[in-house]
Protein backbone atom coordinates (compact mmCIF):
# COMPACT_ATOMS: atom_id res chain seq x y z
CA UNK A 1 0.00 0.00 0.00
CA UNK A 2 1.42 3.39 -0.93
CA UNK A 3 2.30 5.60 1.96
CA UNK A 4 -0.28 8.20 0.97
CA UNK A 5 -3.05 5.67 1.43
CA UNK A 6 -2.01 4.47 4.88
CA UNK A 7 -4.41 5.29 7.62
CA UNK A 8 -3.37 8.28 9.61
CA UNK A 9 -3.14 6.24 12.79
CA UNK A 10 -0.66 3.88 11.17
CA UNK A 11 1.38 6.76 9.83
CA UNK A 12 1.47 8.44 13.20
CA UNK A 13 2.38 5.13 14.83
CA UNK A 14 5.26 4.64 12.41
CA UNK A 15 6.42 8.19 13.01
CA UNK A 16 6.25 7.72 16.77
CA UNK A 17 8.11 4.43 16.42
CA UNK A 18 10.83 6.03 14.31
CA UNK A 19 11.07 8.92 16.72
CA UNK A 20 11.27 6.58 19.70
CA UNK A 21 13.92 4.43 18.00
CA UNK A 22 15.91 7.51 17.06
CA UNK A 23 15.71 8.91 20.56
CA UNK A 24 16.59 5.58 22.15
CA UNK A 25 19.53 5.03 19.83
CA UNK A 26 20.66 8.61 20.33
CA UNK A 27 20.53 8.26 24.09
CA UNK A 28 22.36 4.92 23.88
CA UNK A 29 25.00 6.46 21.64
CA UNK A 30 25.46 9.27 24.12
CA UNK A 31 25.90 6.80 26.96
CA UNK A 32 28.28 4.74 24.85
CA UNK A 33 30.38 7.79 24.03
CA UNK A 34 30.49 8.63 27.72
CA UNK A 35 31.60 5.09 28.52
CA UNK A 36 34.16 5.21 25.72
CA UNK A 37 35.59 8.46 27.02
CA UNK A 38 35.75 7.04 30.53
CA UNK A 39 37.43 3.86 29.27
CA UNK A 40 39.94 5.92 27.29
CA UNK A 41 40.66 7.99 30.38
CA UNK A 42 41.14 4.86 32.47
CA UNK A 43 43.38 3.40 29.78
CA UNK A 44 45.53 6.53 29.71
CA UNK A 45 45.83 6.46 33.51
CA UNK A 46 46.73 2.77 33.49
CA UNK A 47 49.33 3.30 30.78
CA UNK A 48 50.86 6.18 32.72
CA UNK A 49 50.89 4.05 35.84
CA UNK A 50 52.50 1.15 33.98
CA UNK A 51 55.16 3.47 32.53
CA UNK A 52 55.90 4.91 35.99
CA UNK A 53 56.18 1.44 37.46
CA UNK A 54 58.43 0.35 34.63
CA UNK A 55 60.68 3.34 35.24
CA UNK A 56 60.79 2.53 38.94
CA UNK A 57 61.47 -1.12 38.32
CA UNK A 58 64.18 -0.31 35.78
CA UNK A 59 66.01 1.74 38.36
CA UNK A 60 66.31 -1.56 40.16
CA UNK A 61 68.59 -2.09 43.11
CA UNK A 62 71.67 -0.98 41.24
CA UNK A 63 73.71 -1.66 38.14
CA UNK A 64 74.71 -5.26 37.53
CA UNK A 65 78.22 -6.36 38.41
CA UNK A 66 78.23 -8.49 35.30
CA UNK A 67 75.88 -10.26 32.96
CA UNK A 68 75.71 -14.01 33.10
CA UNK A 69 73.24 -16.81 33.26
CA UNK A 70 72.65 -18.39 36.63
CA UNK A 71 74.77 -21.36 35.58
CA UNK A 72 77.71 -19.24 34.47
CA UNK A 73 77.64 -16.58 37.19
CA UNK A 74 80.01 -18.40 39.54
CA UNK A 75 82.53 -18.96 36.75
CA UNK A 76 82.37 -15.34 35.66
CA UNK A 77 82.97 -14.13 39.21
CA UNK A 78 85.82 -16.62 39.61
CA UNK A 79 87.48 -15.15 36.53
CA UNK A 80 87.07 -11.63 37.88
CA UNK A 81 88.67 -12.60 41.17
CA UNK A 82 91.50 -14.39 39.42
CA UNK A 83 92.14 -11.21 37.49
CA UNK A 84 92.66 -9.53 40.88
CA UNK A 85 95.42 -12.01 41.70
CA UNK A 86 93.46 -14.48 43.77
CA UNK A 87 93.77 -18.20 43.17
CA UNK A 88 90.18 -19.31 43.20
CA UNK A 89 89.59 -22.89 44.26
CA UNK A 90 85.85 -22.97 44.42
CA UNK A 91 82.99 -20.60 43.74
CA UNK A 92 79.45 -21.45 44.78
CA UNK A 93 76.18 -19.63 44.55
CA UNK A 94 74.68 -19.78 48.02
CA UNK A 95 71.48 -17.86 47.29
CA UNK A 96 69.80 -15.97 44.51
CA UNK A 97 66.99 -13.47 44.90
CA UNK A 98 65.24 -11.80 41.95
CA UNK A 99 65.75 -8.06 42.11
CA UNK A 100 63.61 -7.00 39.16
CA UNK A 101 64.31 -6.36 35.48
CA UNK A 102 66.44 -9.47 34.96
CA UNK A 103 68.62 -8.66 37.94
CA UNK A 104 69.38 -11.35 40.47
CA UNK A 105 70.89 -10.59 43.84
CA UNK A 106 73.32 -13.47 44.19
CA UNK A 107 75.38 -14.50 47.17
CA UNK A 108 78.64 -16.11 46.16
CA UNK A 109 80.85 -18.12 48.48
CA UNK A 110 84.39 -18.24 47.19
CA UNK A 111 87.34 -20.21 48.52
CA UNK A 112 90.83 -19.50 47.35
CA UNK A 113 94.28 -18.22 48.18
CA UNK A 114 95.95 -14.90 47.84
CA UNK A 115 98.59 -12.63 49.29
CA UNK A 116 97.71 -9.50 51.31
CA UNK A 117 98.09 -7.35 48.21
CA UNK A 118 95.49 -9.45 46.39
CA UNK A 119 93.20 -9.19 49.41
CA UNK A 120 93.66 -5.43 49.35
CA UNK A 121 92.91 -5.36 45.62
CA UNK A 122 89.80 -7.42 46.26
CA UNK A 123 88.66 -4.95 48.90
CA UNK A 124 89.31 -1.97 46.65
CA UNK A 125 87.57 -3.68 43.74
CA UNK A 126 84.52 -4.35 45.92
CA UNK A 127 84.61 -0.75 47.12
CA UNK A 128 84.78 0.52 43.56
CA UNK A 129 81.78 -1.63 42.64
CA UNK A 130 79.89 -0.81 45.84
CA UNK A 131 76.65 -0.22 43.93
CA UNK A 132 76.82 -3.70 42.46
CA UNK A 133 78.63 -5.77 45.08
CA UNK A 134 78.86 -5.98 48.85
CA UNK A 135 81.71 -7.80 50.56
CA UNK A 136 79.64 -9.53 53.18
CA UNK A 137 82.36 -11.60 54.80
CA UNK A 138 86.07 -12.06 54.35
CA UNK A 139 88.21 -14.47 56.27
CA UNK A 140 91.94 -14.76 55.63
CA UNK A 141 94.30 -17.09 57.47
CA UNK A 142 97.92 -16.58 56.64
CA UNK A 143 100.01 -19.60 55.69
CA UNK A 144 103.74 -20.14 55.89
CA UNK A 145 104.29 -19.04 52.31
CA UNK A 146 102.95 -15.55 53.01
CA UNK A 147 99.71 -16.26 51.24
CA UNK A 148 96.41 -16.65 52.97
CA UNK A 149 93.58 -19.11 52.65
CA UNK A 150 90.57 -17.01 51.82
CA UNK A 151 86.91 -17.44 52.27
CA UNK A 152 84.82 -14.72 50.72
CA UNK A 153 81.09 -14.14 50.84
CA UNK A 154 80.12 -11.60 48.25
CA UNK A 155 76.66 -10.31 47.39
CA UNK A 156 76.47 -9.16 43.80
CA UNK A 157 73.84 -8.01 41.36
CA UNK A 158 73.97 -10.20 38.28
CA UNK A 159 71.96 -9.61 35.18
CA UNK A 160 70.65 -12.74 33.58
CA UNK A 161 70.34 -12.32 29.85
CA UNK A 162 66.79 -12.86 28.59
CA UNK A 163 65.92 -16.49 27.86
CA UNK A 164 69.17 -17.66 29.45
CA UNK A 165 68.73 -21.21 30.59
CA UNK A 166 70.88 -23.38 32.70
CA UNK A 167 72.51 -26.16 30.69
CA UNK A 168 71.03 -29.58 31.27
CA UNK A 169 73.17 -31.56 33.68
Amino acid sequence: MPMTQRPTALRVSLAVLALAATLALGVRLGLQLGALNAANGDLADAQRNAADLQRTARQGVGPPLFEASSADAADVLGQRLQALGLAVRKTDVAAATPAGRDLVLTRFVVEGRGDPAAVDRLALWAEANARSAILEQLTANAGDDGKSDLKIELDALVRSPPFAKAPAS
Binding site: T8, G26, L36, G100, V119, L122, T139, N141, S148
Partner: protein
Amino acid sequence: MPNPAETEPPSNAPPPQDEVFVRAVDLPTLSLRQARAAVAQQLDILSPLPPAEVAAAVVLIGPTEAGLHRYAVGLAPLRLLAEAPAEGRSVTLIGRLDGEIVAFRFDRPRTGIGGAGDWIEIATIAGACLAILLAGANLRVDREIDAVQARLDATDALVQQRSHEVAQVARVAGAWRAAAATRKAGLVDCALTSLVKANAGPVRVAGLAMAGGQLTARLADPPVDPAALKALGLAPVATPAVQTSVAGAPAGAEPASAPGEAAVPLALAHDFQTSAAACR
Protein backbone atom coordinates in the same frame (compact mmCIF):
# COMPACT_ATOMS: atom_id res chain seq x y z
CA MET B 1 -29.29 24.23 -21.27
CA PRO B 2 -27.28 21.84 -19.19
CA ASN B 3 -24.10 20.61 -20.65
CA PRO B 4 -24.62 16.98 -21.69
CA ALA B 5 -21.00 16.21 -20.92
CA GLU B 6 -21.60 17.16 -17.31
CA THR B 7 -25.05 15.70 -16.84
CA GLU B 8 -24.46 12.35 -18.46
CA PRO B 9 -21.76 9.94 -17.41
CA PRO B 10 -19.36 8.67 -20.06
CA SER B 11 -20.57 5.68 -21.97
CA ASN B 12 -17.70 3.50 -20.81
CA ALA B 13 -18.13 4.52 -17.16
CA PRO B 14 -19.17 1.93 -14.57
CA PRO B 15 -22.87 1.67 -13.79
CA PRO B 16 -24.01 4.88 -12.18
CA GLN B 17 -24.25 4.82 -8.46
CA ASP B 18 -25.13 7.56 -6.04
CA GLU B 19 -21.99 8.54 -4.22
CA VAL B 20 -22.88 12.06 -3.26
CA PHE B 21 -25.74 13.87 -1.67
CA VAL B 22 -27.25 16.23 -4.29
CA ARG B 23 -29.25 19.40 -3.76
CA ALA B 24 -30.67 21.79 -6.39
CA VAL B 25 -30.02 25.49 -5.91
CA ASP B 26 -31.36 28.36 -8.02
CA LEU B 27 -29.01 31.29 -8.29
CA PRO B 28 -29.12 34.52 -10.29
CA THR B 29 -25.63 34.06 -11.68
CA LEU B 30 -24.12 32.09 -14.47
CA SER B 31 -20.67 32.17 -12.96
CA LEU B 32 -19.59 28.85 -11.48
CA ARG B 33 -17.10 30.62 -9.27
CA GLN B 34 -19.84 32.83 -7.78
CA ALA B 35 -22.09 29.81 -7.51
CA ARG B 36 -19.38 27.90 -5.58
CA ALA B 37 -18.91 30.86 -3.29
CA ALA B 38 -22.63 31.07 -2.63
CA VAL B 39 -22.80 27.35 -1.92
CA ALA B 40 -19.84 27.58 0.40
CA GLN B 41 -21.64 30.26 2.41
CA GLN B 42 -24.77 28.14 2.66
CA LEU B 43 -22.99 24.86 3.25
CA ASP B 44 -24.22 24.47 6.80
CA ILE B 45 -27.78 24.67 5.47
CA LEU B 46 -27.30 22.55 2.39
CA SER B 47 -25.19 19.78 3.88
CA PRO B 48 -26.62 16.94 5.94
CA LEU B 49 -23.13 16.52 7.47
CA PRO B 50 -21.10 19.04 9.42
CA PRO B 51 -19.59 21.49 6.92
CA ALA B 52 -16.08 20.64 8.08
CA GLU B 53 -16.53 17.06 6.95
CA VAL B 54 -17.90 17.62 3.45
CA ALA B 55 -16.72 18.94 0.14
CA ALA B 56 -19.04 20.58 -2.35
CA ALA B 57 -19.07 20.56 -6.16
CA VAL B 58 -21.37 22.65 -8.32
CA VAL B 59 -22.78 21.75 -11.79
CA LEU B 60 -24.95 24.14 -13.81
CA ILE B 61 -28.20 22.43 -14.80
CA GLY B 62 -29.95 25.24 -16.72
CA PRO B 63 -32.23 28.27 -16.46
CA THR B 64 -35.42 28.26 -14.50
CA GLU B 65 -38.70 29.87 -15.43
CA ALA B 66 -38.16 32.60 -12.87
CA GLY B 67 -35.05 33.80 -14.71
CA LEU B 68 -32.67 32.14 -12.31
CA HIS B 69 -30.15 29.44 -13.02
CA ARG B 70 -30.36 25.99 -11.46
CA TYR B 71 -27.31 24.38 -10.10
CA ALA B 72 -26.86 20.85 -8.83
CA VAL B 73 -24.78 20.92 -5.65
CA GLY B 74 -23.00 17.66 -4.86
CA LEU B 75 -21.93 17.13 -1.26
CA ALA B 76 -19.48 14.35 -0.55
CA PRO B 77 -17.80 13.40 2.70
CA LEU B 78 -14.11 14.30 2.78
CA ARG B 79 -13.36 10.74 3.96
CA LEU B 80 -14.86 9.41 0.72
CA LEU B 81 -12.69 11.74 -1.35
CA ALA B 82 -9.59 10.81 0.61
CA GLU B 83 -10.18 7.11 0.10
CA ALA B 84 -11.05 7.40 -3.58
CA PRO B 85 -8.44 6.06 -6.04
CA ALA B 86 -5.93 8.68 -7.05
CA GLU B 87 -6.65 10.31 -10.44
CA GLY B 88 -4.65 13.42 -10.17
CA ARG B 89 -5.89 16.33 -8.17
CA SER B 90 -9.65 15.72 -8.69
CA VAL B 91 -12.10 12.99 -7.92
CA THR B 92 -15.23 12.39 -9.98
CA LEU B 93 -18.30 11.10 -8.15
CA ILE B 94 -21.77 10.34 -9.41
CA GLY B 95 -24.97 11.89 -8.03
CA ARG B 96 -28.59 11.92 -9.07
CA LEU B 97 -30.93 14.92 -9.26
CA ASP B 98 -34.59 14.34 -10.17
CA GLY B 99 -33.65 11.02 -11.71
CA GLU B 100 -30.89 12.48 -13.81
CA ILE B 101 -27.36 11.34 -13.26
CA VAL B 102 -24.92 14.14 -12.59
CA ALA B 103 -21.15 13.72 -12.48
CA PHE B 104 -19.51 15.97 -9.91
CA ARG B 105 -15.81 16.72 -10.01
CA PHE B 106 -14.41 17.36 -6.58
CA ASP B 107 -10.99 18.72 -5.83
CA ARG B 108 -9.00 16.21 -3.81
CA PRO B 109 -9.06 17.60 -0.34
CA ARG B 110 -5.83 19.14 0.83
CA THR B 111 -6.87 19.75 4.33
CA GLY B 112 -4.59 20.46 7.29
CA ILE B 113 -4.66 16.80 8.22
CA GLY B 114 -3.39 15.77 4.79
CA GLY B 115 -0.50 18.26 4.96
CA ALA B 116 0.46 17.10 8.39
CA GLY B 117 0.28 13.54 7.07
CA ASP B 118 2.83 14.39 4.42
CA TRP B 119 5.09 15.88 7.02
CA ILE B 120 4.60 12.83 9.18
CA GLU B 121 5.64 10.63 6.27
CA ILE B 122 8.73 12.74 5.66
CA ALA B 123 9.58 12.82 9.33
CA THR B 124 9.07 9.06 9.53
CA ILE B 125 11.44 8.42 6.65
CA ALA B 126 14.00 10.86 8.03
CA GLY B 127 13.65 9.34 11.47
CA ALA B 128 14.10 5.85 10.08
CA CYS B 129 17.23 6.91 8.19
CA LEU B 130 18.59 8.61 11.28
CA ALA B 131 17.79 5.55 13.36
CA ILE B 132 19.73 3.38 10.90
CA LEU B 133 22.70 5.72 11.07
CA LEU B 134 22.53 5.78 14.86
CA ALA B 135 22.31 2.00 14.99
CA GLY B 136 25.45 1.78 12.87
CA ALA B 137 27.20 4.30 15.10
CA ASN B 138 26.06 2.31 18.16
CA LEU B 139 27.60 -0.86 16.77
CA ARG B 140 30.83 0.91 15.88
CA VAL B 141 31.16 2.55 19.28
CA ASP B 142 30.32 -0.79 20.89
CA ARG B 143 33.25 -2.40 19.09
CA GLU B 144 35.46 0.54 20.00
CA ILE B 145 34.51 0.20 23.67
CA ASP B 146 35.26 -3.52 23.55
CA ALA B 147 38.68 -2.85 22.03
CA VAL B 148 39.51 -0.17 24.58
CA GLN B 149 38.28 -2.40 27.39
CA ALA B 150 40.49 -5.24 26.17
CA ARG B 151 43.50 -2.91 26.10
CA LEU B 152 42.57 -1.61 29.54
CA ASP B 153 42.39 -5.16 30.91
CA ALA B 154 45.79 -5.98 29.43
CA THR B 155 47.27 -2.77 30.83
CA ASP B 156 45.76 -3.45 34.25
CA ALA B 157 47.34 -6.89 34.24
CA LEU B 158 50.65 -5.30 33.28
CA VAL B 159 50.31 -2.73 36.05
CA GLN B 160 49.61 -5.50 38.54
CA GLN B 161 52.63 -7.48 37.39
CA ARG B 162 54.88 -4.43 37.53
CA SER B 163 53.54 -3.50 40.94
CA HIS B 164 54.67 -6.89 42.20
CA GLU B 165 58.05 -6.40 40.57
CA VAL B 166 58.44 -2.93 42.05
CA ALA B 167 57.44 -4.18 45.52
CA GLN B 168 59.98 -6.96 45.28
CA VAL B 169 62.66 -4.61 44.02
CA ALA B 170 61.86 -2.18 46.83
CA ARG B 171 62.17 -4.97 49.39
CA VAL B 172 65.49 -6.15 47.99
CA ALA B 173 66.72 -2.58 47.57
CA GLY B 174 65.95 -1.81 51.21
CA ALA B 175 67.94 -4.80 52.38
CA TRP B 176 70.72 -3.95 49.90
CA ARG B 177 70.98 -0.37 51.11
CA ALA B 178 71.02 -1.47 54.74
CA ALA B 179 73.82 -3.92 54.03
CA ALA B 180 75.75 -1.46 51.88
CA ALA B 181 75.63 1.12 54.68
CA THR B 182 77.46 -1.15 57.12
CA ARG B 183 79.56 -3.45 54.95
CA LYS B 184 82.26 -1.20 53.57
CA ALA B 185 84.84 -3.13 51.60
CA GLY B 186 87.21 -0.20 51.87
CA LEU B 187 87.56 -1.08 55.53
CA VAL B 188 90.07 -3.82 54.61
CA ASP B 189 92.31 -1.36 52.80
CA CYS B 190 91.93 1.16 55.62
CA ALA B 191 92.81 -1.42 58.28
CA LEU B 192 95.82 -2.75 56.41
CA THR B 193 97.08 0.76 55.79
CA SER B 194 96.61 1.66 59.45
CA LEU B 195 98.55 -1.42 60.55
CA VAL B 196 101.45 -0.44 58.33
CA LYS B 197 101.32 3.15 59.52
CA ALA B 198 101.20 2.18 63.19
CA ASN B 199 104.07 -0.28 62.82
CA ALA B 200 106.06 2.25 60.81
CA GLY B 201 106.81 -0.45 58.29
CA PRO B 202 105.76 -3.90 57.08
CA VAL B 203 103.68 -5.94 59.47
CA ARG B 204 102.89 -9.64 59.48
CA VAL B 205 99.19 -10.39 59.67
CA ALA B 206 98.31 -13.89 60.76
CA GLY B 207 94.65 -13.57 60.02
CA LEU B 208 91.96 -11.23 58.92
CA ALA B 209 88.24 -11.49 59.41
CA MET B 210 85.57 -9.12 58.27
CA ALA B 211 81.91 -9.69 58.99
CA GLY B 212 78.95 -7.54 59.80
CA GLY B 213 80.89 -4.38 59.07
CA GLN B 214 83.55 -5.20 61.68
CA LEU B 215 87.07 -6.15 60.77
CA THR B 216 89.39 -8.01 63.08
CA ALA B 217 93.07 -8.37 62.24
CA ARG B 218 95.34 -10.79 64.01
CA LEU B 219 98.95 -9.78 63.99
CA ALA B 220 101.61 -12.47 63.92
CA ASP B 221 103.70 -10.40 66.36
CA PRO B 222 102.65 -7.97 69.06
CA PRO B 223 102.35 -4.44 67.73
CA VAL B 224 105.24 -2.07 68.20
CA ASP B 225 102.95 0.80 69.19
CA PRO B 226 99.48 -0.29 70.37
CA ALA B 227 98.61 3.28 71.18
CA ALA B 228 99.22 4.28 67.57
CA LEU B 229 96.94 1.50 66.44
CA LYS B 230 94.27 2.69 68.81
CA ALA B 231 94.72 6.22 67.55
CA LEU B 232 94.08 4.92 64.03
CA GLY B 233 90.88 3.25 65.14
CA LEU B 234 92.20 -0.27 65.69
CA ALA B 235 91.19 -1.33 69.17
CA PRO B 236 92.72 -4.42 70.78
CA VAL B 237 90.41 -7.32 71.50
CA ALA B 238 90.99 -10.34 73.67
CA THR B 239 88.69 -12.69 71.90
CA PRO B 240 90.28 -14.51 69.00
CA ALA B 241 88.54 -13.37 65.84
CA VAL B 242 89.98 -16.10 63.70
CA GLN B 243 89.91 -19.78 64.39
CA THR B 244 93.38 -20.06 65.78
CA SER B 245 93.75 -19.11 69.42
CA VAL B 246 96.42 -16.90 70.85
CA ALA B 247 98.62 -19.12 72.94
CA GLY B 248 99.75 -18.02 76.39
CA ALA B 249 97.61 -14.95 76.63
CA PRO B 250 97.29 -14.17 80.36
CA ALA B 251 93.97 -13.15 81.78
CA GLY B 252 92.80 -10.09 83.66
CA ALA B 253 94.09 -6.95 81.96
CA GLU B 254 91.69 -5.55 79.36
CA PRO B 255 87.93 -5.96 79.43
CA ALA B 256 86.80 -8.80 77.23
CA SER B 257 84.50 -8.20 74.30
CA ALA B 258 82.26 -11.04 75.40
CA PRO B 259 81.49 -12.38 78.85
CA GLY B 260 83.44 -15.47 79.83
CA GLU B 261 86.20 -14.85 77.32
CA ALA B 262 89.80 -14.47 78.51
CA ALA B 263 91.01 -10.85 78.63
CA VAL B 264 94.37 -9.98 77.12
CA PRO B 265 96.69 -7.19 78.31
CA LEU B 266 96.82 -4.35 75.87
CA ALA B 267 100.56 -4.73 75.36
CA LEU B 268 100.23 -8.40 74.45
CA ALA B 269 97.10 -8.18 72.33
CA HIS B 270 97.44 -9.62 68.84
CA ASP B 271 93.86 -9.04 67.67
CA PHE B 272 92.69 -5.60 66.71
CA GLN B 273 89.25 -4.65 65.66
CA THR B 274 87.92 -1.72 63.71
CA SER B 275 84.88 -0.65 61.76
CA ALA B 276 84.20 1.70 58.88
CA ALA B 277 83.24 4.41 61.32
CA ALA B 278 86.32 3.96 63.53
CA CYS B 279 89.04 3.31 60.99
CA ARG B 280 91.08 6.40 60.11
